[in-house]
Amino acid sequence: MTEWIPFELHTHTPHSDGRHTLLEMCQTAARLGLQGIALTDHNTVSGLIDAEAVSQETGIAIIPGMEWTTFYGHMLTLGAPYCEWRDLGQGDIAKGIARVHEQGGIVGIAHPYSMGSPICTGCHWEYTIEDWEQVDYMEVWHETMPPIKNHNVPALRQWTDLLNQGYRISATSGRDWHHSGDRDALAAYTYVGLEDTESPASSQAVVKAIRQGRLCLSMGPVLEVSLRVGGKSYRLGDEVPLQEVNSNEPAQLSVNITRSSVPERPWGADEGCMLIITSNLGELSRVSAAGRTQWIEGLSLEGLRWFRVELFGPIHGLLATIAFTNPIYVEI
């Protein structure tokens, strides 16, 4: 059984340039309906000293991380201790990523299409990735109200292009949370799919789920997706083996749309909402989601390499992507 745990995966405290303490942030996180955060201060891990006490007080799981805040791009790391970046140049990011992997962590490209220096120093990704297999995830939704932020459009496009090229890179949302205010716009959740035997406080379990792509990015509702074929069920991040593709047995796609219980996030399978299946073959299906919290449809696997599910509809009067999942992959 998979539990979908709402996380905020990009945060800062006064240990770098954040303006709320870890305690203040986690208190706010609890009010916002989050169950976990990743602490990703710029170029330091010292803020983790308060993690255990804050987690106990607020009930918010805290995953250790850091934001490599380099001259040529910002890279999030999760589940690793401090890894050295200052000796690396613009051509050395592969070496840097390997350092994080050797320490058991994962890396994600933060806000790849933000403005760069001198407007925002190092914020635009200017490293050349020689092997995209090395990259575990990309922050394709950045800041509050990410569905309507300009710089997320090319990030989503690049992620989709990479999926089409056969890379299996997870997608996350990150608020880049520096301070808590009463009138802040809403950020998205990254729902992390954990086994019911796994604790959200387990950094290893969360890192594994992010690497695997058991993720749904959402302004509110969680989209639970499973594909049933050959008597087996496949979840987000799974790969359907070639033998199932060749068996010509019909695959059955099931999507459950579950509204968030947080009142500020009322969106779900409402009037005006569409459920969209996107894939390497383009858009496979687009149907009204109004009133259909559970949705089952046959899906042909022919030619598919990956597909994901999106919920599109009105948020505060704007038509936008309300939620989308990471892919289920198909072996080719």
Binding site: T44, T69, Y82, M115, P118, T121
Partner: protein
């Protein structure tokens, strides 16, 4: 209290994306290291020169279809700022950093977690070679001067 390092420097835009590392010797274990760091100017007040730099950055980084609206609102990115950050390494490894924006900073590293400044890693201040690095993320002003002083506290037996 002993002054372990007292230095200053002048940077120009060419210094952007460089690190300047100072190395000093700690002969005995210390109770604390105090660091004073300041740089100026912080903001680039030359509006005409900033306009050119902002336009160049928009041209380079914005999606072509959105470049014009960004250019029309270029003042939203004004004033541009210099950004220098500090980090410290001891004989046994990384001891933290202060990636933050105020141009005048004071930090302490010591055994006591509660007294160690945010960003830095508390613990023993072992004798040996210590390094302090100024990471020059960005200098936009024609000139930027910094002053750095490190002092070591009471020596423990």
């Amino acid at each position: 209290m002993a002054v372990l390092l007292a230095t200053e420097g002048k940077l120009t835009p060419v210094s952007s994306k460089t690190h300047i590392t100072y190395q000093f010797q700690l002969n005995h274990e210390c109770e604390f290291l105090d660091i004073d760091f300041k740089y100026a100017p912080k903001q680039y007040q030359d509006k005409a020169a900033s306009h050119a730099l902002i336009m160049e950055a928009i041209e380079k980084y914005a999606e072509p279809e959105w470049a014009e609206p960004y250019k029309k609102n270029w003042e939203g990115f004004y004033p541009l700022q210099n950004l220098l950050t500090l980090s410290v390494d001891g004989p046994e490894g990384f001891r933290g950093s202060a990636h933050r924006h105020p141009p005048e900073q004071q930090h302490r590293i010591c055994l006591d977690a509660g007294l160690t400044s945010p960003g830095f890693i508390h613990g023993k201040l072992a004798p040996g070679v210590w390094k302090i690095t100024v990471s020059v993320h960005c200098v936009v002003t024609p000139e930027c001067r910094y002053v750095l002083e490190v002092r070591g506290g009471e020596i423990v037996d």
